[in-house]
Amino acid sequence: MIKRGSLTMRVLVVLALATITPTMVVGYLAIRRARDDLEREVVRGNLALIRALGSSVDGTLQSARRALDLAAASWADERTRAAAGDEAPATRRATARLLRRLRREVPLFATISIVSVDGQVLYGDPIAANENVGAHTFGGYIGDVVYEGGRPRVRVVSQARSRTGELVGVFVAQLDLRFISEALASARLGQGARLLVVDGDGIPVARSDDVPLAGATSLRADDPAVDRALGSAKEGNLESGGVVAVYRNLSSYQTLRGVRWAIILEQPTAYAYALARKTTRDTIVAGLVVLAVALVVGFLLATRLTRPLRALAERADAIAHEGGIPDDAPPAPVDAMGEIGHLAQRIEEMARRIGEREQLQAALAHGDRLATVGTMSASVAHEINNPLTTVLGYAKLLLEDKGQDHPDRAGLELISDEAARMKTIVGALLDYSRSERGHRGEPTDVNELVQRTAALLSPALKRGRVTVELDLAPHLPGAAAAPHELQQIFVNLAQNAAQAMSEGGRLQVATGLCADDVAIEVTFTDEGPGVDPALRETIFEPFFTTKEVGSGTGLGLAVCRHLVFGFRGRMEITDAPGGHGARFRVVIPIQE
């Protein structure tokens, strides 16, 4: 079953499967990966930001704590040198100077106190009695956030120990955490982003937005990022409720070890991943455009690719169903590149050979028909020939006895002439019937036969003012035909040409190899009136003649064609080049 038009679709399907589908899959994966990478970059960038901020907070606290540690160590040395418990005026003055210098060096200290090992405030600002800062400290520390007047502060404690490591007092300072809010405010944040620093209870210590800190409550239950940050020991990220958050537990810093704070950066995913999503969208749009272009180009390519195949299919259909290629059929794509051109050439060659074979078969069939006629004619001619000889002989005898003026002479001459003509016809019929199928003898040199024929007919042709031009191809292989039959054909064709040129003219005789190199062709081209296309088949019929009645038997061309079929050749007639005259072409098989 022939499915027309399906090849283009198949080519498109193949294109889709082979190129478009993998491209789409790979494109999807690439887009997804690019999006993930961009989102990771956002997270990485935000983490870097909070690391830097955490480091900045750590640095400030570290400086403050180091200043307090140094002051405590200095005070401990001074106090150790003095008598135990002796608060001499010099010691008091020195301590006062130390505290002033400390306040000057660390303006962030809102209060500074020096507490004895018993918890009594010795110097500086007062401390609430219930604040047990001298015990359970495991050394110096940074305490939890407390709110003084709505402002977050943190307690920094340094132990003042003597040279031997013995505790002689405790330095307690309240550090104002405004600097964290200032650090957050100076951070360059993306659209919609906010920074938070929360204490261990999830209460904001500092934030980059305008929400006031005073009266703030814990965000642990409301903000998953706060919850995750305080439960984590390191840093991380999460996405929840349309917000992407990165966090870092500040206890991971050296100075802040033991501090239960966390820093969190939150940003709506719509803003945080805006670039990633725009890139994804643009890539998809570009991909769809490219896909559409690819489909159009693919369709055009498929059409272009299948067009010559369709033409070949139509020509093959014509060969299969109509026996030949119609004139309005699309041209064969013999010039197409690659296999298609090669295929077209081969199909054309096959078509031509099939045509020739059909012509040969038709000719053979015709030859068989003629052979039957010839056999019958030979039988009839043989039966007629003897009585006719008798009639002709007696007619001639009777004529010899009759004088020129004898009244019967005219009748006897008519009998004699007609009998002679009948004998000629009978002779021709006998020639026709005697031709053999195939040639089993030596190969025949066609050029030599042509030359011999030309020489043989030369006088007669000169009389008819016909000049002969020979164009003989050299090195022709031997022909598979009997020389006498070929010569009979050549003589017949040359005489016909001379008769066609009643006013004289030029007869061109050419030999050569056929295009497929399997046969020899001999052409006789005259300058006569040519042959009407409608008669080009009929003139090979026996007893058909265009000559005047009685001037020809009408068997010449029939005998020629019969002989040609006999050695499996072919004979055809066309117009001479230029359209003036006729050309008879005889194709003779090569002797293998």
């Binding site: 031997t164 013995e166 505790l167 020991a233 050296q254 070890r257 033991g258």
Partner: protein, 412 residues
């Protein structure tokens, strides 16, 4: 369809038709290290629908102080706390902890060494999470190649082995300049920090001074431990040196195994820290506990979570991953040979004496040891100051230490 309707409406309907109230999230406070914290968070995340848990990392250094203040205040009370076993007595005597229900306490087959640390006054307050203590962690190949007597039966054998493995930039023994480590050596040489029963101090005894001098010599130019790193970097310095092969043996606990081995225990061995001359275990033993404060909002759920976290399979998993020693027999059985060998080493340890000042003792002892190691003070000077500080602390808690006959009389 009816079933579907019931299922759909079910969660929206509470007792007697009242709207169901969301159960408050359990609050878990803990002192896990960063690696364990991540493992804990993963464990809790995998619990799924068993209820949300709000975790808070409690700084170990100030953990007892913060806990004491918060539990006494009751406002922001955690439901469950994972903490050091030595914090139990003070919190329990302040009536801030809930005794473990009998069915909870008996739900696991606790190792006796851990179980003993979970109680105070005969009442069990904690569910042991892991067993801690000091032992000798060593490189098997290094020790074998050195041809030393191993495991060392006495402190003399340990120091001789360490001396033999010291040289060429490498040191035989990794020790921290820390009171906890010093306590192990002090007891191995026959001393003690204090007698909690009588309040008598041992830190100012001659054996303590001699021990501190010998301990300080570890870190001298020709010492077996090498010079100490800057304060705050002791642990990381020890891990780096051990992993690099510059330390043959370290005195450390199970908590350090992951870092010491770089994630693997291949080629590592554990040996008992030498006992005192009289055979008494010298190395300190400790444990980590889950306790439920009296102010917990949902004690039943808190104990249930504690049981989940002390399940033998969880303890075995953490043992295999982090080298921690489980506190249950089931956990230990599946903990792997390395951890089981660590447990055997911890069997030859002894808890530090507990007193009301236990938590604060090291606050004064550590700077004193550091001063001696740095050469800023003699052992006598430093330990005299420690004795004064501890006496003051004991007096603050109503314990009056008897006059020490060995007091050197050094004034600060």
């Amino acid at each position: 369809m009816l079933l579907g309707l019931v299922v759909a409406l079910g969660p929206a309907c509470g007792h007697r038709g009242e709207p169901a109230r969301a159960r408050p999230r359990l609050r878990l406070w803990h002192t896990f290290n960063p690696t364990e914290t991540e493992a804990l968070n993963a464990f809790l995340a995998a619990r799924g629908g068993k209820g949300a848990v709000e975790t808070t990392l409690l700084p170990f250094q100030r953990g007892q102080t913060i806990l004491g203040e918060v539990l006494a205040g009751g406002g922001d009370c955690p439901d469950l706390v994972r903490m050091d076993a030595t914090w139990i007595p003070e919190l329990a005597r302040a009536n801030l902890l809930s005794p473990a229900p009998a069915d909870v306490a008996s739900a696991r087959l606790w190792l006796p060494e851990a179980s003993a640390l979970a109680s105070d006054g005969g009442v069990q307050y904690g569910l042991p999470q892991r067993l801690d203590g000091l032992a000798l962690i060593y490189r098997q190949a290094t020790v074998k190649n050195a041809g030393v007597e191993w495991p060392p039966p006495t402190m003399g054998a340990l120091l001789a082995a360490a001396r033999r493995m010291t040289g060429g930039g490498n040191h035989g023994l990794g020790v921290r300049v820390d009171g906890y480590w010093f306590a192990a050596f002090l007891r191995a040489w026959g001393g003690e920090l204090l007698d909690p029963a009588t309040g008598t101090l041992g830190i100012d005894q001659p054996i303590a001074r001699t021990s501190l001098e010998r301990f300080s010599d570890f870190f001298g130019p020709a010492g077996i431990a090498g010079p100490p790193p800057p304060s705050g970097d002791e642990a990381q310095d020890e891990f780096r040196r051990f992993r690099a092969g510059a330390l043959a043996v370290v005195v450390d606990g199970p908590w350090a195994v992951t870092e010491l081995g770089g994630g693997s225990t291949d080629g590592l061995g554990v040996a008992t820290f030498p006992p005192a001359p009289n055979g008494t275990p010298a190395a300190p033993r400790g444990a980590q506990m889950f306790v439920v404060p009296r102010c917990a909002r949902d004690p039943a759920q808190a104990w249930a979570l504690a049981l989940e976290l002390t399940a033998p399979e969880v303890q075995a998993d953490w043992a295999r991953r982090f080298g921690l020693v489980p506190a249950t027999r089931g956990g230990l059985a599946n903990a792997g040979p390395f951890v089981q060998s660590f447990y055997r080493a911890l069997q030859v340890t002894r808890p530090l004496p507990w007193s009301p000042v236990s938590a604060e003792m090291f606050d004064d002892l550590n700077p004193a040891i550091a001063a001696v190691v740095a050469g800023d003070a003699t052992a006598a000077e430093a330990l005299a100051g420690v004795a004064r500080a501890w006496t003051r602390l004991l007096e603050r808690h109503g314990v009056h230490a008897p006059e020490s006959p060995a007091d050197a009389g050094v004034t600060p």
